[in-house]
């Protein structure tokens, strides 16, 4: 089984739309949506949920109002803007990082720690194959733990089904979730665009992959918006040993396909679909070579 992670650093480069196309092209693949903050893959692959499991991650402080005497000690100790700045002191869930300091040092022992409910994750069957995805609660965050959980579940599923491919829609940015999504994968596909921001973020991802000695490939979406910039980005990547496996042109059919809740690969006459087909053939060839 080969595990391919699709990431982009910068948002809006078309990562999810591309992942949905690759998942549709790959025969017998298992899909994991690790971009849980902006989980959109299900909008294109219409998964039917078979199992749902709640998940908790970390802890959060709660104040027992009957014991609290408003001394404000917790507020002084908290380094995370996790407690309201003025009395009556309350826990601000958006700030609390679950460090336990307030609970441990409260002179009234009025604070305790409770597990933090983060959402639900699903095992589903989608139009492109078995899929692991999630819905997280408002304000809850993606984490390395969650991403690792999904990858682990998806790998298990891929082994059970003897799927040759595991495709992961990776999280945005460069932080812990991304690190947890790329480590140990067979290859990382970076989706970028011919813009300064796209170039800037791609370089940061290549730095990250180098840091972890991982193999990366890039593809450039909407490359024809600025062919000169496309050339520059390609050169920068290739100088770093990261080869370009595809150039996808700007195509309004990507949006019209999305409005029909389908990946653009379903519209075989679209120029984006043709380019993505070539891209998949390249990735397939590279990863199938032992």
């Amino acid at each position: 089984m080969k595990e391919l992670i699709v990431i982009s650093g910068k948002g809006g480069t078309g990562k999810t739309s591309l992942t949905a196309c690759l998942a549709t092209l790959a025969e017998q693949c298992v899909i994991a949506d690790c971009d849980v903050d902006a989980a959109n893959l299900h909008l294109l692959l219409s998964p039917r949920v078979h199992h749902r499991t709640p998940f908790v991650s970390g802890e959060m402080a709660v104040i027992d109002e009957t014991r609290c005497n408003q001394c404000g000690h917790c507020q002084q100790l908290c380094r995370f803007e996790g407690i309201s700045p003025t009395p009556p002191y309350t826990i601000l869930p958006s700030g609390c990082e679950g460090c336990r300091v307030c609970a441990h040092f409260c002179p009234q022992q009025a604070i305790s720690m409770v597990p933090r409910q983060c959402g639900e994750w699903y095992r589903s069957v989608s139009s492109a194959g078995p899929m692991i995805h999630a819905r997280i609660n408002v304000g809850a965050e993606n984490s390395g733990k969650l991403v690792s959980l999904f990858r682990q579940q998806a790998r298990q599923l891929a082994e059970e089904q003897q799927s040759p491919w595991l495709l992961v829609d990776g999280p945005p940015g460069l932080g812990c979730p991304v690190i947890a999504s790329v480590t140990g994968a067979d290859a990382v596909l970076i989706v970028t665009e011919p813009t300064l921001a796209g170039q800037h973020d791609m370089v940061r991802i290549i730095d990250l992959l180098e840091h972890f000695s991982m193999t990366g490939y890039i593809c450039i979406n909407r490359w024809d918006i600025n062919p000169e910039m496309t050339r520059t980005i390609r050169q920068i990547a290739e100088q770093r040993g990261v080869s370009c496996v595809g150039l996808i042109p700007f195509d309004r059919q990507v949006v019209s396909a999305q409005l029909k809740a389908r990946p653009v690969i379903d519209q075989p006459d679209s120029i984006a679909a043709m380019a993505i087909k070539d891209l998949w053939d390249n990735v397939h060839a590279i990863l199938s070579t032992p």
Partner: protein, 282 residues
């Protein structure tokens, strides 16, 4: 006024708009780039003299002379950053959240704090715009301390524009929890709508007034309008897709470079945001 510009979905033009709003303000503005994992605001400005401040967080330093290997700090640490072995206590810096608990807890006063670098903040001045750009070091996992450091530069007498990190989790809530108004930039596609709904829920949970700007407004359908109407969210601006905007952006040119005529509309957006802010105060 502290105006945060965010978007649930990435790539909707949040940074482009933030920069354009700063340019359209024609008044002293602070532009704070809080998207510290991928800060891109500065790409729209010519490079000038910048001032760089390193940002550090406190991590424990263990005095081996005083440590008795009692293990209390390791048991306490919610992040498993301390390993208490029979003959030494080892810190894994990457896991430490700098809560200070171990230092307070140690019965032998064996733990003090030292500063550990997590990134830096660059500052530039471009006319009336003061730009602060937080940059997280590659390989660092935790952005909120750096975001808080960027926000410490806020000056209440100026218009403050916060270019927010993507998503709706910790980095975003750290950025917007004390903002006066939050503008969400979206696009009229199923992805845009889905992510907008989650972002609106997040902002409303923090009790912040919210408004919407629709970018590439002609590349999609009416669902964003329907949603905003049902939730009583004002739509402050709609920008149609134009190839010259996309091309200008790809070169690092701003929205106002491509469409200078947009300035009055952007100034109006700022006024509408101020109105929302005042309404929320009363």
């Amino acid at each position: 006024m502290k105006l945060a510009i965010a978007s649930g979905k990435g790539g909707t033009g949040k940074t482009t708009l933030t920069v354009a709003l700063a340019q359209a303000a024609q008044a002293p503005v602070q532009l704070l780039d809080c998207d510290v994992e991928e800060p891109n605001s500065h790409l729209f400005f010519t490079k000038g003299d910048s001032k760089r401040d390193v940002v550090t967080v406190a991590v424990p330093h263990i005095d081996p002379q005083r440590c008795t290997h009692c293990g209390l700090c390791g048991d306490f640490c919610a992040y498993n950053a301390l390993a208490c072995l029979p003959t030494e206590t080892i810190l894994f810096e990457g896991l430490c959240h700098s809560c200070g608990g171990c230092m307070r807890l140690c019965p032998h006063q064996a733990i003090s704090e030292r500063q550990q670098r997590i990134g830096y903040i660059d500052q530039w001045r471009h006319g009336q715009i003061d730009l602060f750009s937080g940059v997280l070091d590659v390989g660092q996992a935790m952005s909120p301390p750096l975001i808080r450091a960027v926000k410490r530069h806020q000056q209440a007498d100026k218009l403050i524009l916060l270019d927010c990190p993507p998503g709706t989790s910790c980095p975003l809530t750290t950025t917007i929890h004390d903002a006066d108004v939050v503008i969400l930039v979206t696009e009229p596609t199923p992805f845009g709508l889905h992510d907008l709904q989650i972002a609106v829920e997040t902002v409303r949970q923090l009790n912040r007034p919210v408004a919407v700007i629709i970018n590439r407004s002609d590349l999609g359908d009416q669902s964003i309008h329907d949603y905003c109407r049902s939730k009583k969210i004002p739509i402050l601006l709609q920008i149609p897709f134009e190839k010259r905007i996309a091309v200008a952006y790809s070169r690092g040119d701003g929205l106002l470079d491509a469409l200078p005529g947009l300035q009055p509309q952007l100034a109006l957006v700022l006024n509408q945001a101020r109105k929302l802010y005042r309404e929320n105060l009363t």
